[in-house]
Assembly symmetry: C2
Homo-oligomer: 91 residues x 2
């Protein structure tokens, strides 16, 4: 399986778009997924996991949650952006 | 120590307001704190922890991160809201 299926990056789309992406990955045989988001999308990433738990038929296990701070270059200056990684698995 | 110092609820204020609240708690002798947030404030809660790590002199350990989905009543209907709890400690 290609590693591109392993990570879902949450950005500007609606929550259901990412939920659908997760379900598609799981249905194609993937057992574990990482959901990543930065900045304002962090709240949406948590919504994705919770919506998935409510809508998907199988039990979702939250394996790990990591938060970090990424240093980005914005023109001349450096800015910090918070990030989250949620590792989920189906049993 | 009163248990009210133990939990910081992140809401509509600026990030620095919650960072200051955490530092005040730690400086008054508290060793562990829980930072909670719901909905859009989840991203801000992660910002608070990251800003605290950068600005506070002591090392911050992230003990645990939990996400959940709270059921709220909004008039007649029930709505789900995502929530996060980040447990931090100073060593």
């Amino acid at each position: 399986m290609g590693s591109q299926l392993d990570t879902i990056k949450v950005g500007k789309k609606e929550v259901w778009a990412y939920v659908t992406a997760c379900i598609t990955s799981f249905n194609s045989g993937c057992k574990e997924l990482t959901i990543r988001a930065r900045g304002d999308a962090i709240s949406k990433a948590v919504d994705v996991v919770n919506s998935l738990e409510r809508s998907f038929l199988k039990k979702i296990d939250i394996k790990d949650i990591k938060i970090s701070s990424d240093e980005l270059e914005d023109g001349d200056k450096k800015i910090w952006k918070s990030a989250i990684e949620i590792r989920i698995a189906i049993s």
